[in-house]
Symmetry: C2
Subunit: 126 residues, 2 copies
DNA sequence: ATAACTGTATCATATCAAATGGTACACTTA
DNA sequence: TAAGTGTACCATTTGATATGATACAGTTAT
């Protein structure tokens, strides 16, 4: 379900957050679906429950999942769409960075646009 | 010349690297141009020379700048283009993350593509 | 009730990257 | 010679990440 990379400089909890979001986006996880308990996922990944909990708490803050004490954690009924202006600016900045780096690698405008389209399509497909 | 954000989770030296690259890309800095000495820039930004040096060394490793002992640091004559397959995969992954987040915010394919084009154009203009 | 499962909270600890502050060395220019 | 370059250390601090252990509170099934 989750595939961790320990070589990555990306924190474990962030990797969990992103991959859960991808699963939701691809439809592998539907609203109402249960996701593994913090203990189960921690055991499966060989990490501490606290780290999984940290990821789940951020996902809940973003209203991607809902947690019910004693019952478990579930995909939210309605995936919220939040404009969140401040975050949008951050996203644009990061996007600019990636585009700049690709340009440094010799990618021109069209190749970058094509790459973005490719990545988008891959993300939708199951 | 460089605008630091201390609130950002992005390290200072990385911010310097990115903004220098942007200046080169926008043409504000031309091949052969001198950039501030590590001490001057450190003083201007209120940081340690070692941090600026770290940024400059990475920029030199990427052949964006050239340093000459006792003389100073300059924009490289030819900005190298390096395919660097491993890095490309990292870039694609990060791009995927940004695209996913934008989609979570309600951006559809066309809006994302338009945003990418916008950012690209902004990057070229002075 | 009881057992087994949920998520949450806390604490001390360890690790690592980032940045600081200071010092020193080697080179170039005026 | 003096002032300015980049570089190289080193000890220290800070903050984020993750661990390991324990404990609490709620739910479910028996």
């Amino acid at each position: 379900m989750i595939d961790l990379s320990y070589k990555s400089n990306q924190p474990i909890y962030e990797q969990i957050i992103e991959q859960m979001k991808l699963h939701v986006m691809k439809g592998h996880l539907q609203p109402g679906d249960a996701i593994p308990s913090v203990r189960k996922l921690a055991l499966e990944l060989g990490i501490t429950p606290g780290t999984v909990s940290k990821a789940y708490q951020e996902l809940e803050r973003q209203q991607i999942i809902e947690t019910i004490r004693g019952k478990g954690t579930f995909i939210a009924d309605k995936i919220q769409i939040k404009p969140d202006e401040g975050k949008l600016e951050e996203r644009k900045k990061r996007l600019q960075t990636e585009i700049m780096e690709l340009r440094m690698m010799g990618y021109d405008k069209n190749r970058i646009v094509e790459l973005v389209k490719e990545i988008y399509e891959e993300m939708i497909e199951c």
